[in-house]
């Protein structure tokens, strides 16, 4: 799957680590991920836009983070990315 990930940045202390995978931070990141998704959704390939997905993920452990991923289906995602760089352009349009 061709995808981009928007995640919280590095943290050292326990309290910040807990914050890094909190619902509060997830809510803060959601508009950025949604902006990337909306920009990618303007791609002219209908098969590609139909396969676009947005999702929230939590990783566990000391380095755990909350992240949002925007991705397209296997095969079609790679082809569109190689041809037009839709997700890369979407990141730029979202100011990331």
């Amino acid at each position: 799957m061709s995808k981009v990930t928007i995640k919280t940045n590095g943290a050292s202390w326990g309290v910040i680590r807990r914050l890094m995978k909190s619902e509060v931070v997830a809510d803060q990141l959601e508009p950025f991920a949604q902006a990337v998704f909306d920009a990618a959704f303007r791609d002219p390939n209908d098969e590609y836009t139909a396969s676009l997905q947005i999702g929230k993920f939590y990783s566990s452990g000391r380095g755990g983070r909350v992240s949002w991923q925007v991705g397209a289906g296997p095969g079609i995602g790679e082809n569109v990315e190689a041809k037009r760089g839709t997700l890369q352009r979407a990141l730029g349009e979202a100011g990331l």
């Binding site: 061709s2 790679e78 082809n79 990315e81 190689a82 890369q88 352009r89 990141l91 730029g92 990331l96």
Partner: protein, 139 residues
């Protein structure tokens, strides 16, 4: 408050030149094309660079680039794509590219229709990166 106008430099040519220099040193110049668009006629090893642009923050522009690599041997194609990423790490000398980061790939892309050169199928790899460019004062 007075703020001077700024202008960003073109970077595509400098990146293509750096990639061409690095790849020719490793793979030789025979049958190798490194440029912005696919060559016509096609050759057995090709690298193209595409500027996907990006946001500007104050005097820095962060431009995303996509690199497509084709070769008539699957291992050569992947090795060339990995060489591309390595060359890009060393090319940020400050003028015009300040730094390169956010590398992703390379991953294989299956062309439809299949590209061929001299009756040999070409293997296609893709990778992406971000180049940061500094503006100069516009006079």
């Amino acid at each position: 408050m007075f703020r001077a106008a700024i202008r960003f430099p073109i970077t595509d040519g400098a990146i293509v030149a750096a990639l061409r220099g690095g790849l020719v040193a490793r793979w030789g110049s025979s049958g190798l094309a490194v440029q912005g668009k696919l060559p016509d006629p096609k050759v057995r090893r090709m690298v193209t660079l595409r500027n996907d642009s990006g946001p500007q923050e104050e005097r820095i522009s962060r431009r995303r680039y996509g690199v497509n690599v084709w070769a008539d041997d699957p291992v050569d194609a992947e090795n060339m794509a990995l060489d591309v990423l390595a060359i890009l790490q060393t090319m940020a000398t400050g003028s015009p590219v300040v730094s390169t980061d956010s590398f992703s790939g390379p991953f294989e892309v299956f062309d439809d229709p299949q590209m061929t050169v001299a009756n040999k199928n070409l293997t296609h790899f893709y990778c992406a990166f971000r180049a940061s460019v500094k503006a100069s004062t516009f006079i």
